[in-house]
């Protein structure tokens, strides 16, 4: 298929998915709708993880930190100050951004696995704080009784899972569209370049640490907004929403999706959360086993995540049939088109340039 044809197919796919996403409340029951709403929220956190892991080269296990900060701040505002959605989303964004700004000095000087460890510490400290600071966070019992949200001033309060899902969908859509637009400006390019060849960027006068600090704060803002949406979607927030397992699933979802692309991050996180929340209802007790199997299979079959699926499958088929000559055959990659495999070229997956495989 020609590149132009592929682009059209991609666009048609995105539009189709959007239509489906809007139609969800009319297609499935209310419980599944609420699962979808939570999935959307976590997918947005996944996008912020992908921004750091894939684009900035800072693999993170700590986005639950700003996510929690945004969630608790919004919940408190919802209970005590205002039930207006705009106010709550802005509160979440501010809280998430502030949280990231406070922790940014810990993160931006490190690279690779050290980032994973530092962010893990940040995430764990946040959960501990959330479960211990009972006067503010409600401790392990969490904050309940959050009043229904009014999206903007003067609008009726949203009642029911369907309305809350649509509200979540709209906010997530707006945030992701804004992110995509920002990343298409030179800002996105600078981030990618810093990830791929930090030394050269520094040598040519770019302040890589500053770019990473901005990216980290921006990712915090996005995670904070997601926190606000979590409060809206489930009208309840507790430390269990921000544990190590959530961080791990988010990171792995992003890796499964192919950490470089926002679409991949959404797809990967959504897949992981769907397996966790939806299959665990269908096959009680087997969700961890299935999720584990999914991770193992993904590690083997799709080195570049779901986003690299078509090229990978093409490569696999080609190597099976032995049709290609040596270069593209044995290792299962198509070296002519698409991105080269991990660790080969500058355009490879983000993780290869991030120092994780140092």
């Amino acid at each position: 298929m020609t590149p132009a044809g592929r682009r059209w197919l991609l666009r048609a796919g995105v539009v189709g998915l959007l239509v489906l996403a809007v139609a969800v409340p009319w297609l499935v029951d209310t419980y599944t709708t609420s699962v979808f709403a939570r999935t959307l929220v976590l997918a947005l956190v996944g996008v912020s993880v992908a921004l750091l892991t894939g684009l900035a080269g800072l693999p993170t296990l700590g986005q639950t930190g700003p996510f929690a900060a945004g969630a608790y701040a919004s919940a408190l505002v919802a209970v005590h100050v205002s039930s207006v959605g705009v106010v709550q989303v802005l509160t979440g964004a501010l809280a998430g951004g502030l949280f990231a700004l406070l922790t940014v000095p810990l993160v931006v000087y490190a690279r690779g696995v050290v980032v994973l460890m530092i962010t893990l510490a940040i995430g764990e400290l946040t959960v501990t704080a959330a479960s211990r600071w009972s006067s503010v966070t409600g401790g392990t019992d969490g904050l309940a009784g959050i009043p229904p949200i009014q999206p903007v001033w003067g609008m009726a309060a949203l009642d029911g899972d369907q309305a809350r899902y649509l509200y979540t969908l709209v906010v997530v859509g707006v945030v992701i569209a804004a992110m995509v637009m920002v990343l298409r400006t030179p800002a996105g390019l600078l981030l990618r370049a810093s990830r791929d060849d930090e030394g050269r960027m520094r040598a040519s006068g770019h302040r890589v640490t500053g770019y990473l600090a901005v990216a980290f704060t921006a990712a915090g803002v996005v995670a904070g907004i997601a926190g606000s949406l979590l409060v809206t979607a489930q009208q309840y927030v507790s430390p269990a929403d921000f544990g190590f397992d959530v961080s791990a699933l988010l990171l792995l979802g992003v890796v499964i999706g192919g950490a470089t692309s926002i679409g991949g991050a959404i797809a990967g996180t959504a897949l992981v959360i769907a397996v966790r929340d939806w299959l665990s209802g269908l096959l009680p007790g087997y969700a961890p086993l299935l999720l584990g199997g999914l991770f193992v299979l993904t590690a083997y079959l799709f080195p570049r995540g779901v986003a690299g699926f078509s090229t990978d499958v093409a490569g696999l088929l080609r190597s099976r049939s032995g049709e290609r000559n040596g270069r593209a055959g044995r290792d299962g990659y198509d070296h002519r088109g698409g991105a080269p495999p991990a660790g080969v070229g500058a355009a490879g997956p983000p993780v290869s340039g991030s120092g994780v495989d140092a």
Binding site: P105, V113, V114, I118, A129, L289, G343, V351
Partner: protein
């Protein structure tokens, strides 16, 4: 015997027992985490299934121990072999992705951990299980005017012996020499004609054996439950980070520090205690990204000092 009002050791006295508990906890973490350190340093694998290897040992202890010495030995043997086997299996599973980045390995090992944890829960049930230690050790001894669990005291002795053996193995044997060399320069070791796949198998099997031993012996301290694997994994990761890499001494110091933070911290500063561990980790990493022992992973060697 009564614990009298005038303490034997003055103002230190109330903290004696927590401090000793910290030593026991720290030595347990050392035996468990040293395997993870070698996975990281020698085979360059981020093994998120390490806690599961410990859990296998702990569940073996719960299933086999009946209060007698013979079964303790049997459980130790079975637990070590089972966990070592699981480690070897993990090495086999990792072989196809050996040349990939850490995140792919994390994906694979976390998947194995999820599936393994699920299988353990299916086999042993969702409750935390009691562990029956040998009757002879199931009492207390009097120590400077305090009662102390005899098992913990014996455990401190045994774990210290294991630590010494591990140190000697790394410092004095040929395998230990290869391990140290591989931490410093894995590529060079490969160039010397040592098969990297075999190193990976050896390291993961040994790591499994250590975690299994820690699991069986440590079951009375960190017992078998569905959260055990996560718990031990997190604590081991903290030890790895604090201890730097590849140095047995650094790992030991870090493990003891974590043990003391966990038990002495609760006694000294109850409100701050839950934060101490990860705050210490964040501070150490921020101040000194190479860990306490001064060596960290070979981070971006091309960029020199920026790591």
């Amino acid at each position: 015997m009564m614990v009298n009002a005038a303490p034997v050791l003055g103002p230190v006295d109330p903290y004696l027992i927590p401090a000793l508990d910290g030593v026991a906890y720290g030595l347990l973490l050392f035996v468990a985490a040293s395997g993870l350190v070698f996975c990281f340093g020698v085979a360059n694998i981020l093994n998120l299934a390490h806690g599961t290897l410990y859990a296998i040992g702990a569940y073996t202890a719960a299933a086999l121990l009946d209060g007698g010495w013979a079964m303790l030995l049997v459980a130790l043997g079975v637990g070590v072999v089972a966990s070592a086997g699981a480690g070897g299996l993990l090495a086999g599973l990792l072989a196809p992705v050996a040349r990939r980045d850490h995140l792919t390995q994390a994906l694979l090992t976390f998947g194995v951990a999820l599936a393994g944890g699920s299988l353990l829960v299916t086999a042993f049930g969702p409750d935390s299980l009691p562990v029956r230690i040998p009757a002879a050790l199931d009492g207390t001894v009097v120590l400077a005017g305090h009662r102390y669990a005899a098992y913990r005291l014996v455990f401190i002795g045994v774990a210290a012996l294991l630590a010494l053996l591990l140190y000697l193995a790394v410092a004095r044997t040929r395998a230990g020499m290869l391990v140290r060399a591989a931490v410093d320069d894995a590529d060079m070791v490969a160039c010397l004609g040592v098969n990297p796949a075999r190193i990976r198998l050896g390291v993961l099997t040994a790591a499994g054996a250590l975690a299994g031993a820690a699991g069986v012996l440590g079951a009375p301290i960190i017992g078998p439950a569905p959260t055990t694997a996560d718990n031990v994994l997190l604590l081991s990761l903290v030890v790895v980070v604090l201890g730097g890499l590849g140095s047995v001494r650094g790992t030991l110091l870090a493990a003891l520090a974590v043990g003391e933070i966990q038990s002495l911290g609760v006694a000294l500063a109850p409100t701050a205690a839950p934060f101490l561990l990860f705050a210490a980790m964040a501070v150490v990493l921020a101040v000194r990204a190479r860990g306490l022992s001064g060596r960290w992973l070979r981070l971006r060697p091309r960029l020199g000092g920026t790591a």
